[in-house]
């Protein structure tokens, strides 16, 4: 069964990036945008979808006077990502046999 939320290419990439970090580590929105080479609007929309699914946590705060948005993967999100990657690998393995 395909997880429609995480299967979308950009959302899968977002989860790939966040999954690299430690469980309690956050990633700045601007840094994530630079890693994925996308726009503010596109990234923001996909983060919202992932957040509604409970796959990521979004934290908006002020660092000094500057607003800062940071995100991190939840346990549920990490599990969904691992399952989806395993599912994709399974498809490749089944064709190789």
């Amino acid at each position: 069964m395909v997880d429609e939320v995480i299967h979308q290419s950009m959302r899968l990439k977002i989860m790939s990036s966040l999954n690299v970090l430690g469980r309690s580590d956050w990633l700045d929105f601007t840094r994530l945008k630079s890693i994925l080479e996308t726009t503010d609007g596109n990234l923001g929309a996909h983060l919202e979808t992932l957040s509604k699914a409970g796959y990521i946590q979004i934290d908006k705060r002020f660092e000094g006077k500057r607003p800062q948005t940071r995100v991190k993967a939840t346990t549920l999100g990490r599990r969904a990502f691992a399952d989806h990657v395993a599912y994709l690998r399974g498809i490749l393995d089944s064709t190789a046999e």
Partner: protein, 185 residues
Amino acid sequence: MSIDPQEADALLKGVEGVEKRTRELLVYARAGDYMILWGVLWVIGYGGEFWAWHYAHDIWLSLDAIGIVGTCLIIWRTTRCIEPGRRRFIFVRPLISILVLMGFGILWVWLANFGGREQSAFWPTLCGALLFCFGLWAGRTLSIAAALVVALTMAGYFWSGPWFGLWLAVTCGGALILGGLWLRR
């Protein structure tokens, strides 16, 4: 919804690419801070060595102490979101690396009885060699910056004549600062 093998392959390659890029950017952002710190210290140290060589020993002792404290502060700042147990682990490794590097350098400067010019060239080439190796795992930009530092040091050693200290301050210190700023951009 079904996924064909080509699509699965493309998605997995995308995942691997993003994971690699994320690891590189995280390392670059941290390495950039260290490079700027040590670049500034090299500018002051080699500049001080050039203009006030009588005090070179004291200057470098003070700068090394500042460098170690500064490195600890950078590690503390970059790891403050990490849970305390893992943080202690992350904190200790770079610090031990710096102390081992310094100990190794001091030992060989003492054993080999280097002249002033050789000693000035030794540290940037030692740091450059280690940074180059680290870059092979962490990201090739670090290796390129390290190779540049070593090449500039050797060029200065052979061709800068009495301006060697100033050469190291401007080119090697400057290369570290510019490289660090570029990595943090």
